[in-house]
Symmetry: C2
Subunit: 132 residues, 2 copies
DNA sequence: TTGAAATGTTAGCTATGGCTAAGTCGAAGA
DNA sequence: TCTTCGACTTAGCCATAGCTAACATTTCAA
């Protein structure tokens, strides 16, 4: 049953990475729309406190995805940008696919938020192929 | 942006419940195939230590999903059984759908493991409808 | 029947991700 | 200029989910 354990290991891994992906995606989005990413906006959009955001940002800095000076706006490093772009692409493929099979736009958006972190390349390719 | 925060809140909730669903599903599966569910088998199949399983089982007992005597096999309460049945049904719908759109069986199985916890009723219905 | 192996439990460590409360900084208005 | 208010940080709490190590119990075979 080592292969089954491997499947669950992957699933746990995906769960761990989901928040990281959400953060870099959010930061990229804020920079694109507002010109800069501030902790307070991230906290507001995620529905958590600024303290929680601060703690997570510390981890992302440690992992080399985010850079910022004290009290300054947040920036993505190159690897952070790459991760954000990848996350965004996956997200859009999943949303497009769900809409294509008849899921209503808001539900598609919401479900994609969870699903995008768990689709393999193969499944993502199938989604992309079938949405046009 | 309260609605966006709500989406993320749901996603966090799903992440929290994913492990619970995995456990009850696994316990039901072990009972169905082996006649009983033992911690050691759960640990092996999930690829974690027995100590980790013990701790999670404590939580599931607290939540009224699992029952067991000390050193005895694990049982599901009625609500545990209901949860397991629901999880299993979702799982099968997702797997069938993924296979249907051309994803290979083992990848379908693996991706479903992550995806099943994040599909809304609406999306699940679309999956079911499209797999025949 | 008894002792070793398998299984289960417990204690205690780490890291994460929530929270509140309190303190620090910076920018904008009186 | 100075003060105040919004934004950021830090400390410290809780629960979860992993781990190892040590201990308890059960089971099975010699």
């Amino acid at each position: 049953m080592a292969e089954q354990a491997e499947g669950f290991r992957r699933s746990r891994e995906a769960r761990r990475n989901a928040l990281t992906d959400d953060y870099v995606e959010m930061i990229a989005d804020l920079i694109a729309t507002d010109g800069e990413a501030r902790s307070v906006d991230i906290a507001c959009r995620f529905g958590v406190t600024q303290a929680t955001v601060a703690k997570t940002i510390l981890r992302l800095k440690r992992e080399g995805l985010v850079a910022a000076e004290r009290y300054g706006a947040l920036h993505l490093t190159d690897s952070g940008k790459a991760k954000a772009a990848d996350a965004r692409a996956r997200h859009q493929v999943v949303v497009a696919f769900l809409k294509r099979i008849g899921v209503s736009p808001d539900i598609a958006e919401r479900d994609a938020e969870g699903i995008e972190h768990h689709v393999s390349e193969e499944t993502l390719a199938a989604f992309a192929r079938l949405s046009g």
